[in-house]
Structures are given as structure tokens and as C-alpha cells.
Symmetry: C2
């Protein structure tokens, strides 16, 4: 039997009584107990970021990941950010928070990231760390066969579940939601009184208690013919409309940061795989959009319809991994433009001199 | 039945086989599920800190604690620190981390603490926040009747236990120790390359992953005659020798900070109650001292002997609450001297301007 945490409920579950989901869905468990989950994103960004520079960064990162206490899974990705800069990103995963902290102390990638030289030139770099106790995560996969994100870590198993197919299911899948409403302590979108110069500086952003971080993925590489066409003509445009809405309505939707990342192959070509990395002020605001905004209802409705139409023959896989973080200061930006990550909406700190 | 978390063990417990403790001990549980535990210390410090100033601080803090989302328990304390300054401290407790974050956002004590005026004059102030998931705490009480620390929070119950009376029992009482060795990622005592000016500044200290925080208490107010005399002549001096050793051997013992605080009554007089607030690089280093150093063996041996001698007639209560914290940046020092708290042994940050 796989590891999981369940609490005696003091907050009612959202599941409607006698709910039985129309279609099977899957979630991640581990064979061994897991105390904390850590995912970390390292990136470089620049207006002009040739493949050669991206490749050098990916290879340096991967060499460092192979060092002692390195991550147990990682991926290469790329995206164009809100300022029009190209970002090359490596996401990395640890099941052992102490190993992650040890690796961070002594890895060659940290040495590179911490070097004063990173403050110079046209290129910025950033590092965002999501670290939560097990009870503050949830996952969903449309199919059991494709491994991505935390599902590539050792001991992970993708299991069938029934906590899906109703609004509030994502919340119900967070073990801690049984005993904690996971509200944001903020009464409004974080006010940034004054824009700081961010270029030429190393800045640490502190995220508010219960910020929700989401990596939501789409994998259509194995899809063919009608299903591929449907993904490209229908689901992908709906997804982009949804993300456009969130980016254009950050305050209303509680969106702090959102990137549509494309997985990158060895040759630098984008693969037929994307994931959205987004941070929301609270799980409730993410739920609010998902439950009632037309842009999400379109995405959700279309994905459901295709899953029902093709069932086990469905070739497009969708999934996400979500985290609600305790207050943290684990977002670092070095020589970045001011719209990078949480720079525009978080309290910023720098090393005391 | 009270709430508790237990994990399927992948790390052997330290309890010797067939161990049965010679004397009963007690631990804290809650009737309701508790997701996170938060204890916060606010203090002012100065070379000359008259009772009038202490009283004004205590009253201001307590008025603020009565505001919305304030702590569910608190105490007044005082100590003389390593630099010879007097510190007036209020410790406060929350069972709801979101309420704590809300209170911190809007409380009058935060407004006072954050005011630029705090940077001026001879008086410093500091705020240290210990916030852990439930599975990263443990407690022990020598008797079931006296309520102090987290044992003053609503729904708490002091229950008899048998996870005591052997070295390693404290570790075994941390639920997460079943699945996490709680090692420090650091290979050495934190090196501080360069002393910073700390006066006139607001500095944030980041504590390393798995730092252990301990509040260890002694209550002899109700003790009389022989038992009182024994406490004052024997146990208290042994305790002070132990604390002196830790303070004089910080690097060797992994001690980052240590204060012997005295609880303070309404009139400003010290009560017959103390507690040691200490931070260690790791649980293992705290255990190392406890298991093998003569100064702890003396304390432990004497306390055990007195408990055996007087059993349920023992009038002195000893207890502790301990926490192993994930990496955190929740220690703030404003206009403090450089030996305050973690200032001398942590990475320091300030708000970006």
C-alpha cells in the first residue's frame, strides 16, 4: 500500500454526496513515506538568448544535478515571458528536503548562481523553490501511463482515484485541507508601493503564507490525426485564452506570476509538451477562476468532452501538481527585469552588507 | 481521543526493546486537529531598561494580543543577555498559522515594530517566529497539572506517555522522525565572514533547514522547604552550569543562541519560574550534549533522582517544547547589538530599497 496522510476532518469536504466521477482520473502516491516535497526552478533570461547559451546553461545545470544530493528528476523547458525575454528553465525535484539543502549549499550550479558576475551584462537568472510538507500538495493526471514532474521521482506510483470531477476536488485532494482552510492572510492583492531597480541586483522575494503554486501540464507528443488536430485547434487555443485572461487580470484573479513553458529536447527544439507554472495568492482564488470563469469552463469542458469521446484511446495527457506553501523567502532574482516572477508583487530583500 | 500524527516508520526508533520508563512523564496533545504550531517572541533590549519601559512594552503587546487573530496564549519574561543588556520578552502562541499571519499583517504591535522610529535610540527590539508543521514538534512535562507554553492553548491536554527515560526519546517523540533523520544540511557551524553593523538597522536572519528550537522550563513557585532548597541549591546551579557550558562552547555544541528567561509577574518581580530558549544547528547536536556531556548528565540525573524521591509529591515541575524548523527567514532584529539572537551566526538580509 502506498504512503498517504489523512486527517480527521473538521472542514467538510467539497465532494457532493454520493458523487461518482464520470471518468477515471489518477493521482500520485509514493511507495515510501515522503515528509516534504521540493521542486526548484533555475532559469536564465535575456531578450536575445541563442540556443547556444541555453544549451550551455542546460548542460551546466544537468552536470550539477549529477553531483551529490542532486535532484531525483529534472526537465528542460523554455518560455517567452511577459517582457518578451526568452527564459531557459530547468525544473528539478527532490523528495528529501535536507538533500536539497545540502545540494544547494555546495553545488556547482549554486556557485555559478551566487557568483558576483551574475549581476553583470544583459542576462538575468532566477531560482524559485517550492518546498512543502507532504500534506500541502495534490496532483491529478488524465491517464496513468505518462510520467512527468514529480511522477518521475523514485518510488512514485500513479493511482486511480475518485476525488475528481467536481468543483472543490483539487482542494479535497490536499490532505491538510481537512483541517486547514488554507486562506490567504492578505486582504488584497499585494501592494507594491514603489518599483525598485531590479537590474544589477540580487533580490529575494518573500511569498505570503498559503500562496498556491501550480504546474499544469499538456502532453500531446504521441497524438495523431484527429486528436492532434483537436488539441492544436481547440484545447490549446482555449488554454492560451485562459492564461491570457489570468495574465491580463492579475489582481482580480489573484495571479502573482504565470509562465507557459515548453519542454525542450536535446536539440533545442520545443517538444509537443507544455506546462503552465503559476502562482496565486490563494487556493480560493485559483478555485474561483476554475469554477466560474468562462475561460476555464471552456478548457475544462473541452478536455472532459475529449476524454469521454476517446476514453482509454485518448492520446493527449493533461495533468497538474499543486502546492500551498507556508510563508517563504525562497524566490531569488539576479539582474532580472522587474516583471520577472514575484518581483512585482512581493516584499523584496537583499543580503545585508 | 486526542489528535496525533504517526507515520509508518522507515527510521528505527531509539527506544530500547522492552523499555518501560521508571517514572511517568507527560506530553501535550490537542483535542482538535492542529496543522501548524506557531510560537513567536517579541522583545525589547537595552543596557538600561527600567521596569517602567518593560511594563509599557508588556502592556502594549498584550493590548495588541487582544486584537483580532491574536495569540491564544502568552507570557511575560525577562533576561539579561550575553552583552549584559536587559531584554523584556513576550512569548505568544497560535494554533492557526493563517490567523498568526493575519495578526502580523495588521496588529498594532507589528505597526510599532515596523515603525522607522525603532531604528533610533539606545533600545533595540527583535521578533523571532517559530512555525512548524505539527509533525515537527515534541513536548515533555514532569507532571500533568501545570500549564505553561503551548500547554496553555485551547484544546490542549497533557497526557501520560512512555516515550521517555532513554536517550533518543525526544527524537522519537517528533512524529516526522519516523521518516526523516532531521539532519542539518550544514557541514560546520555557520561561518560569518564579516561582522556587520547591526545598530540602526532592521535585519532579517535566515535560519538553516532543520534548526532545532527548544523552550525548556522550570517551575518551582509552589515548592517549599526541602524541595525548594534542593532546587535552589542543586538543580538550578546544575542548570546554570549546563547553560554556561553551551554558551561558552557554541561551535562545539552547535548552539546558535541561548537565553535563560525568567517569567515576570504583574508587578515586575521575577516569578519562581524560568525557561531556556535555545536554538541549535541540529537536533543531533542537542542530543549529543544531552547524552554525553557531564553538565547535562548532572541536570538529568538530579532531576530524575528528585522525581523518584518525591514521586507525585514532587513540587518542582520541569518541561520543554521543541521544534525542528524547515528553512526560515523569520528572525528580525531592529537596532540590536550584534550578539542578539541569530545575528552572529545566520545569513542576514534587509529590505531592498
Amino acid at each position: 500500500m502506498s504512503f498517504h496522510i489523512e486527517y480527521p476532518r473538521i472542514i467538510p469536504e467539497r465532494r457532493p454526496s454520493a458523487h461518482s466521477p464520470a471518468a477515471p482520473r489518477y493521482t500520485l502516491r509514493w511507495e515510501q513515506p515522503v515528509a516534504m516535497l521540493t521542486s526548484q526552478y533555475h532559469a536564465i533570461e535575456a531578450s536575445d538568448l541563442p540556443w547556444k547559451a541555453q544549451k550551455a546553461f542546460f548542460e551546466m545545470a544537468e552536470a550539477s544535478f549529477a553531483e551529490a544530493d542532486g535532484p531525483v528528476a529534472h526537465e528542460r523547458m523554455r518560455f517567452l515571458d511577459e517582457a518578451g525575454e526568452t527564459n531557459a528553465v530547468v525544473v528539478s525535484y527532490w523528495l528529501d528536503a535536507t538533500a536539497h539543502a545540502r545540494w544547494t549549499q555546495k553545488s556547482s550550479l549554486s556557485a555559478w548562481f551566487n557568483a558576483p558576475k551574475r549581476l553583470l551584462g544583459e542576462q538575468g537568472c532566477w531560482r524559485e523553490t517550492i518546498a512543502v510538507p507532504y500534506d500541502r500538495h495534490e496532483t491529478i493526471y488524465s491517464a496513468p501511463h505518462y510520467r512527468i514532474g514529480f511522477a518521475r521521482t523514485p518510488g512514485s506510483v500513479i493511482e486511480a482515484m475518485t476525488t475528481n470531477g467536481y468543483f472543490g476536488a483539487a482542494r479535497d485532494r490536499f490532505p491538510v485541507s481537512a483541517i486547514d482552510p488554507l486562506d490567504t492572510p492578505l486582504t488584497a492583492y499585494p501592494e507594491v508601493s514603489r518599483r525598485l531597480d531590479t537590474r544589477g541586483r540580487r533580490l529575494f522575494a518573500c511569498s505570503p503564507h498559503n500562496m498556491a503554486a501550480l504546474r499544469s501540464g499538456q502532453f500531446w507528443e504521441p497524438s495523431e490525426d484527429e486528436q492532434r488536430q483537436d488539441y492544436l485547434d481547440n484545447l490549446q487555443p482555449k488554454l492560451h485564452r485562459g492564461m491570457d485572461y489570468l495574465l491580463s487580470n492579475k489582481q482580480e484573479s489573484g495571479t502573482l506570476s504565470l509562465r507557459i513553458m515548453t519542454n525542450v529536447g536535446e536539440d533545442g527544439e520545443g517538444r509537443d509538451e507544455t506546462s503552465v507554472l503559476a502562482h496565486f495568492l490563494s487556493l480560493a482564488q485559483l478555485e474561483g477562476w476554475a469554477k466560474s470563469h468562462i475561460t476555464h469552463l471552456d478548457i475544462y469542458g473541452h478536455a472532459i468532452a475529449m476524454n469521454r469521446k476517446y476514453r482509454e484511446m485518448r492520446q493527449v495527457v493533461t495533468w497538474h501538481e499543486a502546492f500551498v506553501m507556508p510563508a517563504s523567502c525562497a524566490f531569488e532574482y539576479v539582474n532580472c527585469h522587474p516583471a520577472t516572477g514575484l518581483l512585482a508583487c512581493a516584499d523584496l530583500y537583499e543580503q545585508a552588507k
